[in-house]
Amino acid sequence: MLFLEHIYLIPLQPAIGAAIMFFFGRKLTKRAVSGVCVGVVVIAFLMACGTVLEYNVWAAANHHQPYEKILYTWLGTDTGHLNYVTKGGAQAAFQADAGFLLDPLSSIWLLFVTGVGMLIHIYSIGYMAHEGGYYRFFGYLNLFMFSMLTLILANNYVLMFVGWEGVGLCSYLLIGFYFQRKSASDAANKAFIVNRIGDAGFILGMFFIAWLCGSLRFIDVNHFARAGSYSADTLRYITAATLLLFVGACGKSAQLPLYVWLPDAMEGPTPVSALIHAATMVTAGVYMVARSNALFVLAPTSMKTVAIVGALTAIFAASIGLVQNDIKRVLAYSTVSQLGYMFLALGVGAFAAGVFHVFTHAFFKALLFLGAGSVIHAMSGEQDMRNMGALRDRIPITYWTMLIATLAITGIPPFAGFFSKDEILWQTWTRESDAYRILWGIGYVTALMTAFYMFRLIYLTFYSKPRMSHEVEHHIHESPKSMTMPLVMLAVMSLFAGFLGWPHSLGGSDHFAHYLDPVFARGEARVLVEEGKAGQLAAGEKEEEHTSPTEYMLMLLSVAAAGIGWFMAGRSYENADRGYTEPIAAAAPPVYNVLLNKYYVDEGYDYVFTGRKKVGDVRLGVMGLGEASSWFDSHVVDGAVNAAGWITRLTATVSSWWDKWIIDGIGVNGPAILARMLSYPARLFEWGLVQWYALVMVAGIVGFVFYCVYH
């Protein structure tokens, strides 16, 4: 129980590494930086392995409960300031612990995040060897690992959100790693801002949950969701909450319509693309939805939304990927597409299949990105596939590993992707409603497209004719050991990871899904109940075995799709020389242009949301809002201010005039003038001759005496 008791030490490792880089990184040599930063992640990985092993032993003895470890309460106090009344009328405190939760779901994420993270850290030693800002890069990577592990291991939504924002921040910092490049800093801003939209949804969903359940701990929320009967009212709010959470997931996991940041995120260094924008961070949305599965299954509307958005994203991104020329952008759209698959799986209630695809995808997509990085490394920084070709003999390790990853992602057995993708398609097919067959169709076409664009990448890069310049060709070299070693490890995982989920129909036992049963089992039961098909869980299990012929047929179909895609790509690009023509461009130029320009979504957003471009004379979007605000400010607000000033001046003028002429004039000077006027006759008596005064006095006295005597 040593590791399980001290589970918080796992995220602490990379946090320590990041702190060391922050305070002392500048002074350390590259060797020391690699030692510290890679070392802490290796330790974290080993501790994660130990923890998960211990958890499995512990869970077997404890009814497969989740293991929770609460360190302290970091948000909220017992003073009652954050108390609120829940929807049910109970008093609740808005509180969050620094607590860690380990269950099969977080175990899986914990393992592949630390595992793939470790390999990518090792890879980065070679890849970043000649770059500036070495310690900065590794510091950010470690900070990312810390945030991601916090996200995974959090026992409540608030702490999860802290990790969520942390990975968003690291994503921003690493996309903008080459900050001297305008495009990189723009891409970083774009990623950050688009994610903000999703985060707003996450926060609102979180508040909804707090209001409904009175707690944000996953255990409490699950308990609430699985408690039993709810009013229609509550279910409506749960739908709202889950839809808002899904908005958050859309932002972080690059789903329609918030996927636009991910392709641009390829401005970051390639290991970053592999770690953050392919294997780990972008699956955070999947993790969050899977984590909230108990709520989602109560909201059929949300589930359908998730499934439809996932399927549409899958085919949308895959179709763009068909014609992109930048090797990393192809992989970026592929990632968006695969994430769409995962959400499709979640949306149809096949949570285990979705998580399984996350798991396998982490290996082969990380491998593809790292392989692409290795290719770019060999090509002296060239990323355009039009200038590559015939590299398979020059960089054989990269070639073989990337080929394995491609076979895995296209779903060719027995590579990992086959099992997970097939499981998703199969689960979609077996949803009772016919509407889900349409989603299956979309997923199927996407699989075909996936095969096509992935083999297009392989053919254009490793086969066909060399199309690079002579200097570049001269410099082509296989990458150093630190880069090829992770490639090989990931290739091994891409080959074998799928066996964990070997399906029943092929004589396996689907360990992966059973491992996740404690997390999802009741959730899958509930979705059927909610759709008015009570008791179908048991029937569904049987049905699966009954309809095995269909399952085999679907498997054959998807393998056939992969084969067709492979074949078509081979025919089109096998002998591509300088100035080769794209088959789609030849067949339908308008379609090609639309795809090449990514359906003009970025332009559309520029018109509608950012307002960088004007619609006619009108500017919409944020900048339009800014302009309108500016106009409002300069005309209405400033007008009001000026009017107030003008009125003040007017009243001041009037007041001054009043003071000068009425107060001073009539009130003050008036009596004075009057007194002066009255004084003129009085003055005549006082004409200055003393004896006259005396005479008057005598006359007065004489008069007085006469008066007294004769009266």
Binding site: G688, L689, V690, Q691, A694, L695, V698
Partner: protein, 113 residues
């Protein structure tokens, strides 16, 4: 021989007083005016002494008697006062003369209005 009664003194005092007043009112020279004031004061002194002496002939129980000398004493005070007043008046006159080089009272008109 005509007995000189109190009334004679009073008539003399009144005449002196009128002469003084006329002098004060009509003469331009401040020195003459001051002298006229002395006349007025002495007219009053004459009255005081005359009436006090008349009072001495009254019975003691009415406040009279040979020891009823209030009028005479008062006259002495008035004489003293007149001397002081003349001194002050002449002082002012000299100060005034230094400024205006005149002693005419009709030219002392700076404080009018």
């Amino acid at each position: 021989m005509l007995h000189i009664s109190t009334l004679h003194y009073l008539v003399l005092g009144a005449a002196l007083f009128i002469l003084g007043v006329i002098g004060v009112l009509t003469r331009r020279n401040v020195v003459i005016v001051l002298m006229s004031i002395e006349l007025i004061l002495n007219a009053v002194n004459l009255n005081l002494v005359a009436l006090s002496r008349y009072w001495q002939g009254m019975p003691v129980r009415m406040g009279g008697g040979p020891m009823a000398l209030h009028g005479q004493v008062f006259a002495i005070f008035v004489i003293t006062d007149a001397a002081a007043e003349a001194a002050v008046g002449l002082g002012i006159l000299i100060a005034f003369f230094r400024n205006k080089e005149t002693v005419n009272v009709d030219e002392v008109n700076l404080l009018k209005w």
